[in-house]
Symmetry: C2
């Protein structure tokens, strides 16, 4: 395992780091986390399979196992995320930095790709990320693009938006197409109305950012989608990471590329 990853994961486990993971263990893939009882697992797994743009699966654990052996063999899903959210019947009841006391033998954990991965690739190609420049959170919006439903899981796609020049948008399509496991190519470029977004200045999640003259908004399927859908469908218990507080995996970002 990489020394950086080991160091960071240890300090998260010890409770020394409970802040967002942006910029930690640079070059390593970070993952969204959704933990559900087994009785919901088939429907949620099928939801992810049916909606690979917003819910790209990096790994699904066996019921009861807190070890993501494929992407982070040394990690413990009960302690190695800096902050968790506990939801009961669709309502957030608590934030925790350790969920050992909540753990159950029927919990199945879903690790879902995070767009941090392709953001580094975008930056390496000289494409500016406005929300980093402006020290804000990325802008995210509910759209009118329906997800394909599965059992109780149903809802619209959430997208993240990055403004850029048209030539940069073309390059961004090329770059992000290499990374289908972390949301891949954009789902829309340009007119926000066309996908049901009425005001770019009022994101549903995250912060608004400046869009300069001559820039177009570029929209990617977002890892908030499964969380929003899971909340809407109100299972009796769900545990997720707190937004921005991701699991750091052993896989390099480049390992996610298909080309």
């Amino acid at each position: 395992m990489n020394e950086d990853v080991e160091q960071v994961r240890k300090s998260i486990r010890m409770g020394e780091w409970s802040k967002p993971t942006t910029g930690l263990a640079s070059g390593y893939t970070q993952a969204n986390l959704v933990i559900l009882p087994k009785k919901y697992a088939f429907d949620f797994l099928l939801f992810c399979v049916r909606n690979p743009k917003s819910c790209p699966l990096l790994e699904v654990t066996d019921a009861g196992s807190p070890t993501p052996s494929k992407i982070a063999a040394g990690a413990d899903l009960r302690t190695d995320v800096p902050k968790y959210r506990i939801y009961q019947n669709g309502k957030m009841v608590k934030e925790e930095t350790d969920i050992s006391s909540y753990w159950r033998d029927d919990f199945v954990s879903f690790l879902i790709g995070c767009s941090f991965t392709f953001e580094k690739a975008l930056q390496d190609n000289g494409i500016p990320l406005r929300y980093i420049e402006e020290e804000r959170n990325v802008s995210m919006y509910r759209t009118n693009i329906p997800c394909e439903s599965s059992g109780i899981f149903n809802g619209p796609m959430v997208v993240s938006m990055r403004p850029m020049k048209p030539a940069e948008a073309i390059r961004a399509v090329q770059i992000t197409s290499r990374f289908p496991s972390v949301h891949g190519a954009p789902v829309h470029i340009g007119d926000p109305d066309a996908i049901g977004i009425t005001d770019l200045g009022k994101p549903d999640y995250g912060d608004a950012v400046t869009i300069h003259e001559g820039e177009v908004p570029v929209f990617w399927a977002c890892g908030v989608t499964p969380q929003a859908v899971v909340m809407d469908s109100k299972p009796d218990i769900v545990i997720t990471h707190a937004p921005g507080h991701m699991l750091i995996t052993d896989m390099t970002e480049e390992e996610q590329a298909v080309l």
Copy 2:
């Protein structure tokens, strides 16, 4: 729907065509079929998710639904495959051209990508396919590459092999990387021993083909893998297509390309 597809599917449904589908409705994606009772569906779905090279999912139906609404909305999975195989406890008990009388409300159908798709792309790039030249079935081998297990589903990867010149192998990597949903890039090039194949002249499935001086064997994960694994794990009932007798979908081959 394309006229060709409609025509072919109709003649299959009427029982007028019960032969392999190779070359039918050219340009349209064909799919492998595995039908299992719901009680096995979570474990098998997770098996496919964990082994995307050999089990790329094109669609999974809701329990009881014979309609693959995403990839072939007008099709009926009970009648639109030219030949089916019925397995009980891991043993083939019957071949049928219509499975309406076997159908159950708890059946979940898995449509899995078929390498026919990238074979057309290989041919379009001037890469010869020996088994077509020699009018045989493609050579397939069990390897020592373990699949990642899920519940009762466990076993080695089966690969298909195509011999070609090294420069063609390089081009074949580029071409097939565009098609991850139909097995994608090769899993191995060269020495068969390295993946547990002792004699290329004795394939486990299909026929042996001639390998010319200066050619290397190129190996792709094969759609026979899930069938072999399902047979090994002996569920009480499984229905699959008969080898080569695929479902013809409404999706063009080019729609499967990620780039």
